[in-house]
């Protein structure tokens, strides 16, 4: 648990808008994150959900886990559907034709495949047009719903069913994880953040900020997947913490172009602490791990430079 007052958990909103009985695997951090997001946004919001784990496990007919209005159309278009909902609610409220005149938050949610790969165009369009909505990507770093195929969000060295580590090619995934957070930030939108349910208050705070920010907000949420990452389900929350502590997944936000770390660590753990509990990295040798350590250090330094530059500008 994050380094807060031990009793802080009691202060989280008690209401639930994502019911139990959903069909997610044991220890699914995506569902944990979605539950925390739902808690934070409360009653007055509408979800446009992409096809993916979150969609199928929460909406198996005749059931729905959602206690708020929810629509699923297809895989690659959550951002576009949400754009439509946002535009419609806005114009209907203006014309006095919408049944609710309170502010309604519009939330698009999708997995990494639905965001960084097939949904990238619709996402870019929605961010560029400036719809007042939140887009959350729940990143479990592969196509888990279809059986753990690699996406462009799969990290270097991870074995998946379409980037398998084999005798002739022992590495697994050859490419670096696509930096979608920077792509979102490059749209000059007012709010971009990374988040993780391993830091529930940081996540909830960011969702709150995103909902209060006029215009588009993008949150990239790191959601460990015990099934796809081949690790024990009880580790789903702790591994997310190690990801932050080892600089693999730093927690930061970009507010109007200004970078700020939201969770910092006095001392960082080596990446091996993060890689070791996960079966998807078990095949890596020392050289591979050293290479990953180098990559992680380098991108973290790059991030720190941006943070530093932002704080200088603020001075």
């Amino acid at each position: 648990m994050e380094n807060l007052n031990v009793y802080a958990a009691k202060m989280a909103p008690q209401q639930e808008f994502l019911a139990g009985g959903h069909r997610a695997c044991q220890g699914c951090a995506e569902l944990l994150a979605a539950r925390l997001v739902a808690k934070t946004l409360g009653h007055d919001y509408i979800i446009a959900n992409a096809t993916g784990c979150l969609e199928i496990v929460t909406s198996s007919y005749p059931h729905s886990a959602w206690e708020v209005p929810w629509i699923h159309v297809a895989f690659e278009n959550a951002a576009a559907v949400a754009s439509g909902v946002e535009a419609a609610v806005k114009i209907l409220q203006k014309k006095g034709k919408y049944p609710v005149d309170r502010k309604i938050t519009i939330l698009a949610q999708a997995g990494d495949g639905g965001t960084v790969d097939i949904g990238l165009q619709a996402l870019s369009g929605a961010l560029e047009r400036g719809h007042d909505m939140i887009y959350i990507c729940y990143d479990n770093e592969a196509y888990m719903n279809t059986g753990v195929q690699r996406s462009s969000s799969t990290p270097y060295g991870a074995t998946t069913t379409t980037s398998p580590a084999g005798a002739a090619d022992p590495l697994g995934q050859h490419t670096m994880k696509k930096n979608i957070v920077e792509i979102a930030a490059a749209h000059n939108i007012p709010y971009v953040a990374t988040a993780s349910p391993s830091y529930p208050f940081d996540l909830m705070e960011k969702v709150k900020k995103a909902s209060e920010t006029p215009g588009p907000a993008y949150i990239h949420c790191f959601v460990p997947c015990p099934t796809g990452w081949r690790m024990a389900p009880n580790l789903a929350v702790s591994i997310g913490r190690i990801a932050a502590e080892s600089k693999v997944f730093p927690l930061y936000e970009v507010v109007n172009g200004e970078y700020r770390m939201t969770v910092t660590h006095k001392k960082h753990r080596p990446v091996i602490d993060y890689l070791k509990p996960q079966g998807r990295f078990r095949h890596l040798n020392e050289d591979n791990i050293a290479e990953i350590q180098q990559q992680v250090d380098k991108s973290y330094e790059r991030l720190l430079k941006k943070v530093k530059m932002s704080s200088t500008e603020l001075d």
Partner: protein, 391 residues
Amino acid sequence: MAKRVGIEVSLAISEAVKLAKVDAVAAYPITPQTHIVEHLSELVAEGELDAAFIPVESEHSAMSVCAGTSAAGARTYTATSSQGLALMNEILFIIPALRLPVVMTIANRALSGPISIWNDHSDIMSVRDTGWIAIFVENGQEAFDLTLQSFKIAEDHRVLLPISVNLDGFTLSHVIEPHEFLDQDEVDRFLPEYKPAVQLNPDDPVSMGTVGVPEIYAEAKKCQDEVLKGSIKVVKEVFAEFAEMFGREYKVVETYRAEGAETLLMTMGSVSETAMEAIDKMQEAGRKVGLIRLRLWRPFPADDLRAEMGSVKTLAVIDRAVSFGGAGGPVAGEVRSALYNVDDSPYIASFIAGLGGRDITVDDFIEMVDQAEAMAKVNEIHEYKMIGVRE
């Protein structure tokens, strides 16, 4: 009172959409649909139409945005053509399944490749089975009238299905024609405000687009097909109400000088006007020919078609698209199915003509009648014949 206006057909469609007081328009530009959406964005910018105009980054997103706007309860419109319609394809199937009454104009254009911006019906035929109501228009007045009527049909709570209004790209969309416009109060009387049956609303939350498990998927598809088939009743009611109010009559199957005809040409879209000339010419020469036009393509008006087959011995169906590797043009295939097993059903000849902007002349129509009658005489077994192609 209604006024007569000479205006480009694309703009007349935009004016109809304005008079329908749509709440949301999402569109991506594609030739030859552009004039329609340009004019709509202008109407919004000028404050003449109080609607959200969402200029999306692709047609896939255009239709996806329409899903969102319609599900949130907005009267929703879009327009496209050809490749744009093809890119929407995935979402086209989902809109009727979610029962969203989106209205879309399709300025019909050939599909690539080779790339062609000119008119035929390959775009609409390729989305035949997506579950939309599909209407064809032949001239600007029909485009104006049927755009307005489409909202009323789609939004009827017995229907709640999307509609495409098809007009021939360039040959109709870009011509200037006289139109009888309706006044806003006339339109308001005909087309009241859209009342969604269900909408995304936090005070009454629903989940739309849940997983269709095997126990319900077949029922979902059966329901969709029954509602689509049943919509023909509403189409006819709306046509009748429009005729009653404004005096212009529409039928799901239209005929021209078909009484007592032994041979009928069958067309869809704006070529019908040339076909009429051909019919006039042949009748002057004493031939028993007439014209039948399909206004409604989906749901397919099989009963209405059969009712027109009285004395007909030969039916020459003109398709403007190829069903590759198939046993005839797509329309001819439907017509053959509808008339098969019907007593004394006519001989059906399948012609494909007018692909990718190729003209179909009066003489071409006469040639098709000649060929069809000759083929009927010997009951020639054939799949289709392409007219006006170099062999």
